[in-house]
Amino acid sequence: MMKMRSLLWTTPMLLFPAAAMAAEGPDTGDTAWIIVSTALVMMMTPAGLALFYGGLARYKNLLNTIAMTMVAYCLASVIWVLWGYTLAFGTSMGGLVGGFDHLFLSGISVNSLSGTIPTYVFLLFQMTFACITVALVLGSIVDRMKFSAWIVFTILWVTFIYCPVAHWAWGGGWMGAMGALDFAGGTVVHINAGVAGLVLSILLGKRLGYGKEAMFPSSITLTALGAALLWFGWFGFNAGSQLAADGVAASAFLVTNTSAALGALAWMTAEWMTTGKPTVLGLASGVVAGLVAITPAAGFVSMPGSLVIGVMAGLIGYFSVAKLKGMLGYDDSLDAFGVHGLCGIWGALATGLFASPAVNEAGMGLFYGNPGQLWIQVVSILGTAAFSAIGTLVVALVTKMITGGLRVVEEVEIEGLDNAQHGERAFEIQSV
């Protein structure tokens, strides 16, 4: 795995920074691509996710949803450069969490290298992943969480949940050491966020009127535009995770696009056959489902693998939000668990099936003669899900104590969070 490889290069370099800088400079091609990728992934949170989620929230909570997304990006950005990066990528403490050697980015200079790119670029790229992961969680809880509680939750969750899990997979922790394959964040980002969302939504309870009154999305147009921006940004997310401008990055780009397209087509078809109409929301959701599922597999699977991954992602996503959610009865408002959690699990398993040594010698799945990989993937999924579930519960309960409750009062929920929490309205439409 490229992330591991670059880490192995990073560690000795950081012990002897002067020697490393003398040896060689960064690869300019790799550096340029990862700088661009970082900017692409950045856009996914305050633009892509904000619109995707904002359009799905009710009209009276659209701005609150955008505000939560944007503030999550800002908070996680600052946490990352203060203590987040070192907790994820500092010298490993027993494979569980990074040490404090890079607290406030100490020990890193303009000449520091991570693999072939400057460490500043590497840590910024990784920062955008921390930002989007915590922002993904809010999909489960829109329409009812206090803004102050969301801020406290974000700070605690990035610190105590995201950073350790990122360390496990990419920072020299136990999951990477065990050989778990997670190219761009199936476990770290999607399963982690999806499970956290589920726990938080159960803790908060259902929205007032859930299942009884109609809860129309404020704008499917915004949601579709958000999905398109996520798709665009995901090329940086997946192809950038190679941390180099090379053939594996190109292959990751190829399978990412294929899986997204097939996810959308599969979701649309399933919906068309079961409810009679191919909806725009179905297409947009299918795009995201396909992108989520290919994320852990992007640098490991070949094109034929991505066909199966994409189709299955669209079907799993559709049936989990349209059928499973109703049967289980939780109110995951915008389906962070249904889409990110479950399609993330599918992607992590599929990586254990389809990883092809012809694409990337770091990964060999069941279909290429390595059944043990599938078991390793299962362990990494269970480990991430269990830690995320328990950790999120603890973090949420601590948040509740600090902010005097997680949920807005009933009048605020009825009035809408845009006006009650922010004193603004998303639209001013003069009707006559």
């Binding site: 809860m215 129309f216 409810t275 959701s285 349209a322 109703g326 389906d335 006559v432």
Partner: protein
């Protein structure tokens, strides 16, 4: 004096307005309203969550005319707003006791 209240399909508003202008009706008041009658609502499904939309947008037109013009106005509105499908709307005629023009204080039919 009579007040004609017509609830019609929104896209028929301009046709009704022009038809009434043709017979010399100078003013009207409109309101955007929602309701349902024989035309049933419709169903929208978002990620499997099914919402029935009962109330359909309509426009309510109110015109007050001298009593002898009422039948002509009703006929014109009916003609202009008719598509032959369910949901074309309804017309109600009610008596009006008095009318006053705010600017001049004229009353009765002179105020219309």
């Amino acid at each position: 004096m009579k007040k004609i209240e017509a609830i019609v399909k929104p896209f028929k508003l301009d046709d009704v307005k022009e038809a009434l202008n043709e017979i010399g009706i100078q003013g009207m008041t409109i309101t955007e309203v929602k309701g349902y009658g024989r035309q049933k609502g419709h169903k929208e499904i978002y990620r499997g969550a099914e919402y029935v939309v009962d109330f359909i947008p309509k426009v309510k037109i109110e015109v007050v005319v001298p009593a002898d013009q009422a039948d002509a106005v009703v006929a014109k509105i009916r003609e202009a707003a008719n598509t032959g499908k369910l949901g074309d709307g309804k017309i109600f005629v009610v008596g009006i006791e008095e009318a006053v023009r705010v600017r001049t204080g004229e009353t009765g039919s002179d105020a219309l």
